[in-house]
């Protein structure tokens, strides 16, 4: 890897952390990936402030909530943007009778949505939370589905009076001149089923409130019901369904492999790397296409061209994995099968695609980024300042377009990325235009990676093509091991938290979705802009509702 090393933040050792947290740590509860400290529920803000300001843990990567037999637990997984290998977990247990914990919202804005989700699905109350509502399930839902005593069979019936209808015309405020507008859940620009409650003053967006959960498909429950070895792997494909399947599968594979201590053969790593980058290209093409749909109007040429190019990528991926969209190709310890025979033909096909790519990208540059109207539309709209991006936990192209040099492929290496020559793209624009450019340039970097992988695969000695490590038929990791691992998905840091309980199914499976964080910043970046900018900002955040809602 050629990227020059940036000035590393000083390594914070466990002793430093122990000294920092001091008496507030009740005991240690180490995770496989990070040291863990158990603290009292009313120390949360205190400890997180210290960790952020004194020790430099400026990235609240994830918040996992779960219920044990005797307690509830919220785990704050913290990292550093400058060096994500430095991690610390803050574990906050609360009693079953009175699950109240202090809110971390004043420290990290992203805790807002996370704690709402924890309340919604598990049932922990957060004291001092500014907006304690349900987030994924309907307001009138009864019970907390991931808590122990939830009965899935109970009828979910509420009287009509209780059920607030958001489309009711009671949002009209006689006093003010603003207008309340529901954008979505069925709207051509919401990229799925997002509902944005908007308050407009003329054409200006005064206030927005993204309402998610219209695609909450219980992914975490599904994964908790599946066995590690085979039953979980199909689900990641359906989180970020925009052809980013292999990237998502890698997130699960990485967490589970580290949990069960499985070594992946190098040959399989190369195939994984190549497949994942193909997925990234397909995903970024879609992001570009749909963004142009928002800015150009329907049936424009860029949108159609980007889908033409996606077809080619999907063809290659279909040859490799056997499916167009839901690949289910990774296995714990490797991949399902080797490159398709005849190998030469496959490699040739992939090379052809890479050869044509520069011409296509310059076509996009002519049509899109070079277009002056497009520049006028996108420059200085949807501005996301780096500090804000960090506070919201934004990652991926959204963060990199705000000048945050953060890419897990380089900073927390996995797969074969370390041995390849490529660059992390960052831009300083912080606006919609920067985000689009960032994605376009990442496509070129991905192409570089694929090129090198193809060379490696072509020359790989035939008797050394081990595609899967030896993995026991039934995986039963040691009880009470906990791990949080993340990979660089198409949209950013895609993390998985797994807690094992000695059986062949995870006791808690939590997905840290990059889109969830990126979307939460929408409120900040589009208030005060015009409706078209709101739509464009939403498009440039490139959210996938399957991953936001999970």
């Amino acid at each position: 890897m050629s990227t020059e090393l940036e000035p590393q933040t000083p390594e914070v050792t466990e002793n430093d952390l122990e000294a920092l947290i001091g008496d507030r740590a009740l005991r240690r509860d180490d995770h496989l990936n990070a040291p863990g400290f158990v603290i009292r529920p009313d120390d949360v803000q205190d400890v997180l402030f210290d960790l952020r300001d004194e020790a430099g843990f400026d990235h609240l990567s994830c918040l996992t909530a779960q219920q044990y037999e005797d307690r509830y637990e919220s785990i704050y997984h913290m990292k550093k943007y400058a060096d994500p290998t430095q991690e610390v977990s803050v574990v906050v247990p609360t009693s079953v009778d009175n699950p109240v914990s202090q809110s971390a919202e004043p420290v990290f804005r992203t805790a807002d949505w996370h704690e709402r989700e924890a309340f919604d699905l598990v049932g922990i109350d957060y004291e001092g939370h500014p907006d304690p509502r349900r987030i994924l399930l309907p307001e009138t839902w009864q019970g907390h589905p991931l808590s122990k005593d939830y009965d899935q069979e109970q009828p979910q019936v509420v009287t009509l009076a209780e059920h607030a209808n958001p489309i009711q015309p009671d949002h009209h405020d006689e006093e003010s001149d603003t207008m309340f507008l529901n954008i979505g859940p069925h709207h051509p620009a919401t990229h799925g089923v997002l509902h944005v409650k908007t308050v407009l003053d003329g054409e200006t967006v005064v206030d927005i409130d993204p309402d998610i959960g219209y695609l909450h498909r219980c992914e975490e429950q599904m994964c908790q019901q599946g066995t590690y070895r085979h039953q979980i792997m199909p689900y990641p494909d359906r989180w970020d369904y925009v052809s980013a399947g292999l990237l998502n599968e890698w997130a699960y594979a990485r967490a589970a492999e580290d949990l069960a201590d499985i070594e992946v053969p190098e040959y399989a790593q190369v195939i994984r790397t190549m497949g994942a980058e193909l997925c990234r290209i397909a995903s970024h093409f879609l992001a570009l296409g749909t963004f142009c749909l928002d800015v150009y109007g329907d049936f424009n040429a860029v949108f159609q061209y980007s889908f033409r190019d996606r077809e080619v990528v999907q063809d290659i991926l279909e040859d490799l994995t056997g499916q167009r969209l839901m690949f289910n190709y990774f296995r714990l310890g490797g991949v399902a099968w080797d490159l398709p025979e005849p190998r030469d033909e496959f490699i040739e096909k992939a090379r052809d695609f890479l050869d044509e790519l520069p011409a296509k990208i310059s076509e996009y540059n002519d049509l899109v980024t070079g277009n002056e109207i497009f520049q006028v539309r996108c420059n200085d709209t949807g501005v996301l300042e780096p500090d804000l991006a960090k506070s919201y936990g934004c990652t991926g192209p959204v963060a990199r377009a705000s000048g945050i040099d953060y890419d897990l492929r380089r900073d927390d290496p996995y797969g074969y990325y370390e041995n390849l020559d490529w660059d992390v793209i960052t831009r300083q624009g912080c606006d919609n235009y920067a985000r689009v450019l960032c994605r376009m340039e990442e496509v070129e970097e991905s192409a570089k990676i694929i090129e090198q992988c193809l060379d490696l695969l072509e020359d790989w000695p035939e008797d050394d093509r081990e595609i899967q490590a030896n993995v026991p038929r039934t995986l039963k990791p040691d009880p009470d091991t906990e791990i949080y691992r993340a990979v660089e998905g198409a949209k950013g840091e895609l993390g998985i938290y797994i807690r094992s309980d000695g059986t062949d199914k995870p006791a808690r499976f939590k997905i840290r979705s990059p889109c969830f964080h990126n979307l939460s910043s929408l409120e900040e970046i589009s208030e005060g802009d015009f409706i078209p900018d709101l739509i464009a900002s939403l498009g440039s955040l490139d959210i996938v509702l399957g991953e936001v809602d999970r």
Partner: protein
């Protein structure tokens, strides 16, 4: 007047008179004239409706498809042409949903206003081959005036649908039309400085004189050639008037669903849709008349209507091209371009033209 005689500018024989003449209706006094006029209007109206009928369900799809490497309709009849029948009958046969809170007379009238305002404009357009309904002395002003009525229809549609998206669309439509109507008219006036007349037939006749004569062929004095700057200005303002990219903000499907037409279904939707296409064609007709020499073209005079339709379709093609390749400007930028850019430029154009014409004469 005998059929096929050359038509000289100034003493045009209009279509109603000719029909009256041919059918003998003009012997019945006022009633006969009226009937002949109706007949003539019927012919012109149907010609335009037929063109929209071809453009809306079929040509638009084929053109967009050609821009985006697709084929589009090809299963139904030759080159998918029967889709015109299928689409129009299907749309007409759908359930017409009228929202509960709709402001009834306005809601019902809006589509008719939109469609008819465009149709009215064709009355004064000389289409060649003797197809010209009326030739008032204020022809150009009449066209701009009736085309402007469409804004009323759009704002009626937007307001009366009782839908917030429609409302936004209607507001945008009226803001846009007001902002671009002035540059449009002012640029149109720069042509009048050349011709010294608002009469359509006069404007066409002036353009038919050769600008430069090379003996074998002559470059006609089409105002697009005489004053290309005004032509470009007019084209731009026209895009905004008909609401197509880069100025398609009033119905911007990804922003405000379908703008003012969000709530319309069935017949009303057909009318609004027709109205939009008629407006594109009317825009094309105005451009053809005042900048491209109207029905002028090589070949016998009888081919005038063919040339005229080709010119209209050329403008239509341009709008579709823009739609495929040009981004939409934001609503505030749209207003800014209109008031700060086009308006200033169009007045500059007017004054410059006036000075130059003054010097030449």
């Amino acid at each position: 007047m005998i059929e096929g005689t050359l038509i000289q500018a100034g003493d045009t024989v209009l279509l109603p008179e000719r029909i009256g003449d041919l059918t003998g209706l003009d012997q019945f006094g006022l009633a006969g004239e009226l009937l002949a006029a109706f007949l003539a209007a019927f012919i012109v109206g149907n010609l335009m409706l037929a063109m929209t009928g071809v453009a809306g369900p079929w040509a638009k799809r084929k053109i967009t498809a050609a821009f985006t490497d697709r084929i589009a309709v090809n299963r139904l009849g030759p080159a998918g042409l029967l889709i015109i029948v299928a689409d129009s009958v299907r749309l007409l046969s759908k359930e017409n949903i009228i929202p509960e809170n709709a402001d009834r007379p306005a809601y019902d009238l809006a589509p008719i206003v939109v469609a008819s305002s465009a149709l009215l404009g064709f009355a004064v357009i000389p289409m060649g081959s003797g197809i010209h309904l009326a030739d008032p002395e204020v022809g150009l002003v009449f066209v701009f005036a009736v085309a402007g009525i469409a804004s009323l229809g759009l704002v009626m549609a937007g307001y009366s649908s009782a839908n917030k998206y429609s409302m936004l669309g209607g507001l945008r439509a009226v803001a846009q039309n007001v902002a671009y109507e002035i540059p449009l008219v002012v640029t149109g006036m720069s042509v009048v400085i050349f011709t010294g007349s608002l009469q359509m037939s006069e404007i066409v006749a002036v353009q038919n004189q050769p600008l430069v004569d090379f003996g074998l062929f002559a470059i006609p004095a089409w105002f697009a050639i005489v004053n290309p700057f005004a032509f470009v200005l007019f084209l731009l303002a026209n895009f905004a008037e008909v609401g197509r990219n880069p100025f398609d903000t009033p119905e911007a499907p990804t922003e405000i669903v379908a703008g003012y037409q969000t709530e319309y279904s069935s017949v009303y939707f057909v009318l609004i849709y027709l109205g939009e296409f008629l407006h594109i064609f009317l825009g094309g007709a105005i451009i053809a008349t005042i900048f491209l020499g109207g029905p002028a073209g090589p070949g016998p005079e009888a081919l005038g209507i063919v040339w005229f339709i080709i010119k209209i379709w050329g403008v239509f093609l341009l709008t579709q091209w823009m739609r495929s390749a040009v981004p939409r400007v934001r609503v505030d930028q749209l207003i800014e371009i209109g008031w700060k850019g086009l308006l200033v430029l169009s007045f500059a154009n007017l004054i410059l033209t006036a000075i130059i014409v003054g010097i030449i004469q």
